[in-house]
């Protein structure tokens, strides 16, 4: 009998499923990324007001969109982990968190880059930027809480609870930050970003933007899937299936 025998057959099944799905995300992701970059950066026309600098939206907007989407995905994984005690959902939550945090960071960073030529300063307390900053803190909280636990499963459960509390709070935070921003509206420049994303955006700009949104999702999903599978392998490294997969000869460990 295997000493490591465990009630879960599941991580193995998940691993192989993800392994099968991976190319279906990776290849379209790479192609669409290339298309979006060339189309957005070279082919799409200049903005009549912002010139070339508007082109950062092809990174900024997808990152900002999916930073929120991945938080929701993380919370759903947390719900699965807590309510149905699904172990791979715990691992999924941990796989999503850093990717989501990096997306949030990218949206903040590109937002600052974009803001500089537009209003002459790197940081403005604009509602979107502020909400993204708080979202980044929420991600950091989930990751910090997980790391703080010695026992990985307890850490994952705690992080799941926090992600769920966070996802309930996000609409309230967003509402409050936007509302705060209208109270303290100092100038009209902060509305410039909003204008670009309004439906009035020209189709020549909109289509590459849509492509870049899909591309960002696929590439981020690939990162999450790779992280998930690495984590499954790490946890299951003593199981025969993992050793077989890695091409390590299986040494029989008999029960003493």
């Amino acid at each position: 009998m295997w000493q490591w025998l465990h009630p879960y057959a599941k991580p193995e099944a998940t691993f192989h499923l993800v392994q099968k799905l991976l190319p279906w995300f990776l290849i379209p992701g790479l192609i669409l990324s290339a298309v979006a970059l060339v189309w957005g950066l070279a082919i799409a026309p200049q903005d009549y007001q912002q010139g070339e600098s508007y082109r950062i939206i092809f990174v900024h907007v997808p990152a900002a969109m999916w930073s929120m989407g991945f938080y929701v995905a993380m919370a759903i994984a947390g719900l699965l982990a807590l309510v149905w005690q699904i172990r791979t959902a715990e691992l999924a939550l941990l796989a999503i968190a850093p990717v989501g945090a990096v997306l949030t960071f990218i949206s903040l960073f590109t937002g600052a880059l974009w803001g500089q030529p537009m209003w002459g300063t790197w940081w403005v307390w604009d509602a979107r930027l502020t909400a993204q900053l708080i979202l980044l803190f929420l991600y950091l909280g989930v990751m910090a809480l997980y790391i703080a636990f010695e026992d990985e499963r307890a850490g994952a459960k705690a992080a799941s609870i926090l992600a769920l509390v966070g996802v309930i709070n996000i609409p309230i935070i967003h509402y409050s930050v936007y509302w705060w921003n209208t109270l303290h509206q100092q100038s009209t420049v902060t509305r410039a970003i909003t204008r670009l994303e309004a439906p009035s955006i020209a189709p020549e700009m909109l289509y590459p933007l849509l492509v870049s949104i899909v591309a960002m999702m696929l590439v981020s999903a690939v990162l999450v899937m790779k992280r998930l599978n690495n984590e499954i392998l790490r946890r299951e490294i003593h199981r025969p299936w993992a050793l077989t997969y890695l091409g390590i000869p299986v040494v029989q460990r008999n029960e003493e």
């Binding site: 000493q3 490591w4 025998l5 465990h6 499963r153 003493e256």
Partner: protein, 207 residues
């Protein structure tokens, strides 16, 4: 059957502490869980008390899953773990008053006699933090003297007690069992010489 454990399994990290543990506790029985350090004795007690979810298996109280009849179960359970649950800022009497009150039992007069029984005479009005470990343990164990619960789960109840304390606890166990109560405990003490029958469950350390 008062309490049943069905195919219980516990996992700590990646290590299986124990699996396929079955336990039937009837009224009038004392069960001693034995095993080396790290074999999962405390975990088993905590699973039986519903503090720790079992990886697999069920705990049944009078035939019903304990999470389904939580309030009825805890109405009939007294658990004393490693940590005694005694507030160090409060005196022995204040601590016991709380635990009596949540069992629906009010002391009409301060329970001096009870404290005398567990050997805490003259220490009634001193905050528990100024007492020794053994004396604090006695405060926690004093709950056994007024508790109306039938099932007691005790993690190392003899720890920190002196010879008198141990003898006193044995007497109390005997009375409880005679009244139809049941006790599950862990201890490194040999209980075989006691005047009541002892059922034993052996946990082995698993690698």
């Amino acid at each position: 059957m008062l309490l049943q454990g069905r195919e219980l399994q516990s996992v700590r990290g990646e290590r299986v502490l124990f699996s396929n543990i079955n336990l039937d506790v009837a009224s009038g029985q004392l069960w001693q869980i034995e095993g080396p350090n790290g074999a999962g004795k405390s975990s088993l007690l905590r699973i039986l008390a519903g503090l720790l979810p079992a990886q697999q298996g069920d705990v049944l109280f009078q035939g019903e899953e304990i999470q389904q009849c939580r309030e009825r179960y805890y109405h009939d359970l007294l658990f004393i773990g490693h940590k005694s649950g005694i507030k160090p800022e409060l005196t022995a009497i204040e601590n016991l008053e709380f635990y009596a009150a949540v069992e629906g039992h009010e002391f009409s007069t301060p329970p001096y006699e009870l404290l005398a029984q567990v050997g805490l005479v003259g220490l009634e009005d001193i905050p528990a933090q100024r007492l020794s470990a053994g004396q604090q343990r006695r405060i926690a164990l004093a709950r056994l003297w007024f508790s109306q619960t039938r099932l007691w789960i005790l993690d190392e109840p003899f720890t920190a007690l002196d010879v008198d304390g141990i003898a006193m606890l044995h007497d109390r166990f005997q009375v409880h069992l005679a009244q139809g109560g049941a006790i599950i405990l862990t201890s490194h003490q040999d209980l075989q010489s006691m005047s009541y029958p002892v059922n034993r469950l052996q946990l082995r350390y698993q690698h």
